[in-house]
């Protein structure tokens, strides 16, 4: 398992470019490239933006983003977002039932639909004071790591 250095940043939209750049760099080092990376970074944005909107209603706080790559077995690339905000399961946000609904629904439901579609696995858990959101994509077997 390769664990990349964790990125810690404020849970604010201004941090988004840093978060995406970090995930893209880690993904690139695992030869996860092309459309699968593009889709993953959208999922990461959706997850991160939901944390920005909901985790710290009373003020500011940080998010830790950690990428990891399991090169054995199913060759999974994982992005885990961790925050110390209010207990909040973003996966419980309902996707809009109809397209017209999108603007009327709380921000985030559409993002959850993206996460589920673009990742092979999306898991939320609460541990003590922490929210953990894990996004997993499986790297196709044919890809070899760049040396």
């Amino acid at each position: 398992m390769v664990n990349f250095d964790v990125l810690i940043c404020p849970a604010a939209l201004e941090s988004l470019p840093r978060v995406i750049a970090y995930v893209e760099e880690c993904a690139g080092r695992c030869a996860l490239a092309g459309p699968k990376t593009a889709r993953l970074t959208i999922a990461v944005e959706e997850a991160f933006v939901n944390i920005c909107h909901y985790a710290y209603p009373d003020g500011k706080g940080d998010v830790a983003v950690a990428c990891a790559h399991d090169a054995r077995g199913p060759r999974a690339f994982t992005v885990e977002l961790k925050d110390k905000g209010a207990a909040f399961d973003p996966l419980a946000l309902r996707p809009p039932a109809e397209s017209d609904d999108i603007l009327d629904r709380p921000v985030g439901g559409l993002g959850v639909a993206m996460m589920r579609r673009f990742c092979d696995e999306v898991v939320y858990r609460r541990e003590g004071e922490w929210n953990f959101l894990r996004l997993v994509v499986v790297v196709p077997q044919a890809a070899e790591p760049l040396s």
Binding site: L13, E14, L16, P17, I20, P35, A38, R39, T41, I42, E45, E46, V49, C52, P96, E98, S99, D100, I102, L103, V107, L110, G111, A113, M114, R117
Partner: protein, 111 residues
Amino acid sequence: MEIQSRKEAGATVVALSGRMDALTAPEYEKKLRELIDQGEIRFVADLAGLDYISSAGLRAILTIAKALKAKDGRISLANLGGTVREVFDISGLGSLFQIHDSVAAAIAGLY
């Protein structure tokens, strides 16, 4: 994200390039509202140069489309490719818009 606008055949073509995400989507709304305030009501959004769009981008596009509808205006979309197309399809927004393979076809579809 870069936004360029031009007039073509009576419509305003707004070409987006780069990334439309939670941070840049408000720029689209701001630009379109300026153009609408100037009296423009027929738009084509040319997404050929867009590498990336998230749900924030979709919300911005939908918000402007609704604002235009309230003024009897219209916006159609052109040149959705790759992941951008996929994002529209997942959201179901594809069915709300006229989507064309070229700016010319999108302009024609406005009339």
